[in-house]
Subunit: 343 residues, 2 copies
């Protein structure tokens, strides 16, 4: 059952049927109702391929990632993706995943997608400080939205959270509680979000005139193993150097830290304070941490939804100034933080 069949059935031209279904004003309400009823009755669905060819729009958004960095193994990313798919589905878009690898490097995947008009727009995550994908996509004239920020000569649509502010707040809380030797367990500072967190952390220490001991600033994978191994090293330091508080980029890291702390017979919140950033993942929750974890929190799934909304808005109204959201991050006080113990 295609447009032509349906129009013959109705005794109308396919033009009229098409316009009726797509809500154009040049068709009377009466025939519109008739057409829609007939379409429903016969289960008519326009062919996506034909529509694509005719309009140049694919109704598809793309996500590309390198094979080496398997984002699908990262719960932060999949949670983000989940929000994105949800929103896309609500807005009538599909999301396609493409993996770049080896010969088929990321740039080529973008080029191919663009030229083949497979997708209407791209969703980028985890930007580097100065991300090469931005100028590339702009050159290819492919619309995109960024989850995060990066330096760029021209404005582009993005959504980011206030990483700097979040980590400033968190570090500020710790200094207010009297902590001076604070460890920062960060992500890889090649990425912008990690850099921002580093900056916020340092600014907070600067406000109380506390020096930043570079020994206490660590970066790496944001998982439990990393948290554990760094904590083990740091808590072995002589007591003048040993951190009294940890600020982590993820709850997983905090999990690793907590394990070491407990293993040393210390108590979190009393002997060692602990704050982590909480992406509101389904299965990793700050509130059921033991003890409940003080955290900077921002839902990454919600970010996924918003990112898609921004991109679709941008696709539908290309002229308008693009959305550039920066979400504030809440600092939620729970029981993993306390005043520094006088030595």
């Amino acid at each position: 059952m295609n447009l032509r069949d349906l129009s013959k059935l109705l005794g109308l031209s396919h033009t009229t049927v098409s316009r009726a279904l797509n809500g154009f004003p040049e068709v009377s309400e009466e025939t519109r109702v008739r057409v829609k009823a007939a379409a429903d009755l016969h289960g008519y669905r326009p062919s996506a391929a034909a529509r694509r060819l005719a309009t140049g729009q694919s109704g598809t958004l793309g996500v590309v990632f390198p094979r080496e960095r398997n984002l699908l193994g990262d719960l932060r990313f999949t949670e983000f993706l989940s929000g994105a798919v949800q929103q896309a589905s609500d807005l009538g878009y599909d999301i396609t995943l493409a993996m770049a690898s080896g010969t088929q490097n990321e740039e080529n995947v973008y080029r191919r997608s663009v030229r083949a008009a497979r997708v209407d727009g791209m969703i980028l995550s985890s930007p580097l400080l100065e991300d090469p994908r931005i100028p590339l996509l702009r050159k290819l004239n492919m619309p995109f939205v960024l989850h995060g920020r990066t330096v760029s000569s021209e404005p582009f649509p993005y959504l980011d959270i206030d990483n700097e502010g979040a980590f400033f707040q968190a570090a500020k809380l710790l200094t207010d509680l009297g902590h001076r030797r604070i460890a920062l367990l960060n992500g890889d500072t090649a990425f912008n979000f990690a850099r921002d967190r580093d900056v916020g952390f340092r600014k907070a220490l600067a406000t109380v005139g506390a020096p930043v001991d570079s020994l206490l600033v660590r970066e790496g994978y944001m998982n439990e193993e990393h948290g554990e191994s760094e904590a083990r090293q740091l808590l072995m330091l002589p007591s003048q150097q040993k951190p009294t508080a940890f600020l982590c980029s993820s709850i997983s890291q905090a999990d690793g830290v907590a394990r070491v702390v407990r293993h040393m017979g210390l108590e979190i919140g009393r002997d060692v304070s602990l704050i982590a950033h909480d992406d509101r993942l389904q299965d990793i929750r700050a509130e059921i941490f033991d003890p409940p974890l003080t955290a900077t929190q921002s839902s990454i799934a919600e970010a996924g939804r918003r990112v898609v909304a921004i991109l679709v808005q941008h696709l539908r109204h290309p002229g308008e100034p693009c959305a550039q959201d920066v979400w504030p991050v809440d600092l939620v006080l729970r029981e993993s933080t306390g005043p520094v113990k006088s030595q």
Copy 2:
């Protein structure tokens, strides 16, 4: 730059150019080389939309899941998906994700996708014992492949692992070690894989004439919380009823169990034996469990790759009998299992 432009540039018809690029035999090697060089030079890429319309093939595989059961929050699924995307990318296919929800229920999403010819085939995971999606997709004439098995009147392509055999082996090991009171922490037995594991478990106990205590057979989410709460209950039982070994459907569950065991001052492998199924997830590894975990193992990412290969094979050669793989599962002996302690 489209086919016509390119053909004009070459002084050939677009037919010839198309055939040259698509490897048809009716074109001389000389012109083929010439055409390919020109295509490369001018960065020509056939429009996916046009090709779709002309061939009826979209070059896209679909994955649908209900909003309620957010598979993207499940590392087992995302690891599987990761393998699938990898393989699809190697075979020149895209994978699109669609989320069914509320009004837009799963059946409608399938219908829509089929009718709109958005995808060439569907990938289904986690089948129920008798999964309604199978007859639906068959009725809609949409090719598919199943990760898992289900009852069906007609044959269809699938890949499954030998869950029954795996859990038989695992339970058999435990009975050989003298265990008779073995707890099974299973997934939801609405799903076929969980049912198969249940069957394997029971058969193993039957071979030594050990009764199955239904109190010790539990099912639920395959996460740490579930493992922990069930283990807590079971290990509180009076010693005649208390299990001496646990067989878990996931390492996460085993994590929960291990936590309880340690908390009670017991030692895994000596006081309580523990086996889990290991999907070879990147971040959850049986070999770095404490102690290293005896496990039935099978890479779920590899399964994702194979599933896509099967589907693509089926799409390209629809007539041929479809692949129906059942992979054996290795039982890897490590240190979490030991002989039952004489009471």
